[in-house]
Symmetry: C2
Amino acid sequence: MNDTHELLRRHASVRAFRPVELADERVREAVASAQMASTSSHVQAYSLLRVRDPNERRRLAELCGGQAQVAEAGAFFVVCADQRRHRLAAELRERPYVPNLETFLVAVIDASLFAQNLVVAFESEGLGVCYIGGLRNDLDAVAELLELPHDVFPLYGLCVGEPVERPDAKPRLPVEAVLIEGRYPSDEAVRALLAEYDGVMSSYYESRGRPGRDWSGGVAAKFREARRSHLASFYRRRGAELDG
Amino acid sequence: MNDTHELLRRHASVRAFRPVELADERVREAVASAQMASTSSHVQAYSLLRVRDPNERRRLAELCGGQAQVAEAGAFFVVCADQRRHRLAAELRERPYVPNLETFLVAVIDASLFAQNLVVAFESEGLGVCYIGGLRNDLDAVAELLELPHDVFPLYGLCVGEPVERPDAKPRLPVEAVLIEGRYPSDEAVRALLAEYDGVMSSYYESRGRPGRDWSGGVAAKFREARRSHLASFYRRRGAELDG
């Protein structure tokens, strides 16, 4: 296994950071590397907002569900799907700009390929990272706080910094649950893989002082009611189309 | 700049592959590394389908808009946002399963963080890759051909293999267009950055025998009418919700 595989396999989200600000030059270099990620038809439909103001970071930490690392990490970023440059380019060339679900998906995917490259770049320097899905708890408040213009769609936050400690990697689904050869397996076959994995995760949680938990139970609890039900309305109001 | 940054910066999509099948063990190892990507609440909402049948690959090459590499690369994969395991886990625990735009976005983002890790893993071994957005040209035909069950949402294809040649990296937007400090720049400031970049891309295309092209013009042409307008209907019919 080469060094890159080893780097990827060591990943675990870091939530406790040393109080050391991440240097501008490191951020610029990591962004330049991350931008080389594939992008659909070269549209590069993303922006990365760095939030520096301590008051704004404290407010975002609250909005993200009380996640202190949003205020405390060496840097906090908001990853955005960004179609604003496309709309401006269309205006410049006097063409209509017609968004639909395809263009929104392209932007979400472009942004996420970029973000993961960024994470790999930072982790290769020994930094720790943590994606913050809690950014979607209240996107109206986030957009108001950061004065985001239309066509810029915040997706998630990203904390980066020097880790206080490096958590152990958490076991993933068996490879054969994710890598599918030929036809998608029967429900019975999937259930057998999930039962195997529930055993692994149950031991994992027990060894960390959280007995009685497993993967299926966690997933079933997570999806039992709709969460963050403002997303469609928010993205539409900001210029996205989720139909057609 | 460390080796990982250099690896990321060398990326360029490969469309011509040597006729050498990608070994199963390499795929398994790359998937195991890629699975360590961050995942929202550990839900791991993705699957990777490897398509081996030569007839199916030829048919997919047509469906993707006549992209020969879909049939010819060392391996062809379909990256799927996958909520099927979640629905089965909910059934197992006798809980309702309530999808909405949040759960769909989580799955698209999870899948894309995983996919980009996979790409980095393969590229670290000297392999070439190419994402295939053309998979979304006709998702009904793709789903029928591969007999995809509900709650498994194909997003894009991925070709992997030994490159015939390694294209030069293509210039990206200026870092300051993507990395935003403080407030999102004014339209005027964005237009100035795009004008600068149009100059860079115009020279790039000209040096490759394609004069008269630039970035704004390409983007304006791309978004001037709705493409792939069946996506919302397709994903909804397969079990996604794009509201709430």
